[in-house]
Amino acid sequence: MTIDKAILAVITTNEQKVDGGAPIFYCETKDEMNKVAANLEAILDGISHALSDELYIIVKH
């Protein structure tokens, strides 16, 4: 079995919301979160999806 979609990273400004297996990047502000997500998107070759205003995930498609 191959897994072709995977959450590579979680970026958030609200620590309460997240926990678990993927690497979590905690940011102070929304601006910082956008920057980190943009960098991670390019580095990991994944797409950053917004689950809410304070939570992004990077997914490899």
Binding site: A37, A38, E41, I47, S48, H49, Y56, I57
Partner: protein, 299 residues
């Protein structure tokens, strides 16, 4: 020189020219360079030779010679494999891949064109031997016309209505009309998509078409053709900038989201309209016995 020399030469020449005519380099860009063309012209020459000698062989009562045609068939099946393998290998390096359905369609075309060459040579040699060169030339012209006719299939504009539609965001969700395309998180990307994105809605003209344009291979073919013709705002390492097509489950319309470098909506619509309808994507549910019975055409 004997009585068959001229007819055979005539048949082989006509067949090879037929292959050359059918070997077009267009926006699909394949084959482009001389080497690729030489392969197909050489195979076309072999096909023409096989077609041309069939009739003289029968006239000489050499019936076993006709079994050579079976070797030809397996030879040209090999052509199809070759094309399929090459194009599949190359596909992973395309910014917007062709997709397997499109590749299979191209491979089938390459194989079948060799058979058209065989038929052309066969018929012209036959005509030459039967009625002389003047009739053979008439047959040649008819064969070329038939080959041209057989080469072209239908295009998307025959089966769907194409309308330009606005690309917009609802939160992180990207929409074309009311069709959800994907979730784009970064404001930066959303801005780029707002600037370069273009949306079209394709409305099927009848029920059969719904399944055809729902085919993932057909959709990929649309994206590939548009990206080749208009350029694509995308690079490796920017997976978020990807042209996509999604379907409206309610009525079978599809929403085409593209990122063309050439921002000309009219041209884009024309290009979408000119995308070939892939043979392997065509479905005809209305031709099934059940639906015919329901319409009362068959008991």
């Amino acid at each position: 020189m004997n009585e068959y020399t001229l007819p055979i030469i005539f048949g082989v020449t006509v067949g090879t020219i037929a292959r050359a005519i059918m070997l077009r380099t267009d926006y699909r860009q394949y084959p482009t360079y001389l080497h690729g063309k030489v392969i197909h012209l050489a195979l076309g020459f072999i096909a023409a030779g096989l077609g041309a000698v069939a009739i003289p062989a029968i006239m000489e009562k050499e019936f076993t010679a006709v079994t050579f045609l079976t070797i030809a068939a397996s030879q040209f099946r090999e052509v199809r494999n070759m094309e399929r393998n090459t194009l599949t290998e190359l596909d992973s390096y395309e910014l917007v891949p062709r997709g397997n359905t499109y590749i299979e369609g191209i491979a089938i075309a390459f194989e079948s064109r060799n058979y058209l060459v065989i038929f052309t040579s066969f018929l012209t040699t036959f005509a030459y031997l039967l009625a002389g060169w003047s009739i053979a030339i008439v047959v040649t012209i008819i064969c070329y016309a038939v080959s041209r006719k057989l080469m072209s299939g239908s295009t998307l504009k025959d089966i769907v209505d194409i309308s330009l539609s606005e690309v917009h965001f609802d939160g992180a969700g990207l929409y074309v009309d009311n069709i959800y395309i994907m979730n784009i998180g970064l404001p930066e990307r959303q801005e780029e998509i707002g600037r370069f994105g273009m949306g079209f809605v394709l409305t099927p003209k009848n029920f059969d078409v719904r399944s055809t344009i729902a085919n993932l291979g057909q959709r990929q073919a649309i994206l590939h053709d548009v990206s080749v013709s208009l350029g694509v705002f995308r690079d490796s390492g920017t997976p978020a900038l990807v042209p996509l097509i999604k379907r409206d489950l309610d009525d079978g319309r599809i929403g085409v989201f593209i990122l063309p470098q050439n921002q000309d909506p009219k041209k884009a619509a024309e290009i979408i309209g000119a995308v070939p309808v892939l043979e392997n994507a065509i479905r005809m549910p209305s031709e099934s016995k059940v639906s015919k019975r329901n319409r009362g055409e068959e008991k």
